[in-house]
Subunit: 202 residues, 2 copies
DNA sequence: CGCATAAGTTTCTCCTGTAAACATGGAGGA
DNA sequence: TCCTCCATGTTTACAGGAGAAACTTATGCG
């Protein structure tokens, strides 16, 4: 009972600890210098320990991306409670949530859409990405049913809004939305333009 | 006069050769395993030679990104000759050119918008990016003058269309525009939705 | 108990970026 | 013409990362 929590040799749940450390790094480090050894170091284990839980670096990255999609989905769902005034308002809230998520986790967001995390290989990652995308699809379908959105193919609306939100997020975390280019409040401005194309009349 | 062209020791224009090799690699390699030593190897020089022309890896990357912006601008300009039927058609052509450029140079396009190529540090890179962005701005302003686009703040149109095109390009090169998600022809579909928001009436 | 095994550690090889020291050959002045 | 300087190469060296292999520990199960 000497050092109950210092170093029990067997960490208990190293896998989780490594993931947490890595997520911290991805939220903090803008510079994408993601090193497996650095993760191990910050977690307080030897540099080979992670290999007992992840076949290689890529596998850890994919798991991180998967968690990223899950969390992004949670953020978006939380941001648009069903009692909101309009579907359009829900859309705006979800879009802002997505972009906010990207800005608060730039490294993670980049990872989620990088080729490092190849979704064609990992079915779990693919499913997570699809589930998050499904939130958007559901919102659009609801909006079409209640007449908020134009009755064009829902896949067209999905492609447009997904690209718009993703594009804004990527540009934002790359610090490319400079005022000299796109004015002082580019995100709501851009979303408004898009919504004008998606909504009826007005 | 033994080996006139094999190895003149002094390469002549190694800087250019390195850049060309690197551009090839960025067009070919999807996997973003961009190694300075590999560039040197493929160019046929020692791994330290590049350091005579670029202070470090980042400096080469920034130069590549700069060239990328120049070429992207050229592609877009070529794609929209001034005698096109409508400004809307010009916009579509420029957008397709941008996305096509990304698909043909995925590594380069990623690099251009990665944090590795920090535009806040390199004024030349910043200028090149601004110039390319200026093509879009010019098109939008022309479209507003001739009544094709709504007379809202041009920065709003710029933010929306830039985000849309960039988003589509990023999703395309990440192989995320799967038919199960966004239908068979997501790019024109998405651009149409956006244009409906940017154009008058109809 | 005693041992099989999961979970850590050390050690090793190969690769990368980068610095320093050395080599070469072409251009400009004596 | 020749010598010397210097830009542009090469070799060598070192630190740090990915990952494999061999070794160690402690833990759960008979």
């Amino acid at each position: 009972m000497s050092e109950t929590k210092d170093r029990p040799y067997h960490h208990g749940d190293l896998r989780r600890a490594l993931i947490d450390t890595a997520l911290d790094m991805l939220a903090t480090d803008q510079n994408w210098a993601f090193t497996l050894r650095e993760v191990a170091r910050r977690t307080g284990v030897s540099h080979a320990a992670p290999y007992k839980h992840f076949r290689d670096r890529e596998m850890l990255l994919r798991e991180l991306a998967r968690i990223g999609f899950v969390r992004l989905g949670e953020s978006m769902t939380e941001a648009m409670p069903p009692d909101m005034p309009s579907t359009r308002a829900q859309f705006m809230a979800a879009a802002r949530a997505c972009i906010g998520f990207a800005c608060q986790n730039p490294g993670l967001y980049r990872l989620m859409f990088s080729s490092d995390a190849d979704k064609t290989i990992d079915p779990q990652l693919h499913d997570a990405a699809m589930a998050t995308f499904g939130i958007l699809l559901g919102l659009l379908e609801r909006g079409q049913r209640d007449g908020s959105f134009r009755p064009v193919a829902v896949s067209a609306l999905a492609a447009a809004s997904w690209a718009q939100v993703h594009g804004l997020a990527m540009l934002a975390i790359s610090h490319q939305l400079l005022e000299e280019k796109v004015g002082p409040a580019p995100i709501p401005a851009a979303l408004d333009v898009l919504l004008d194309g998606m909504c009826h009349g007005n």
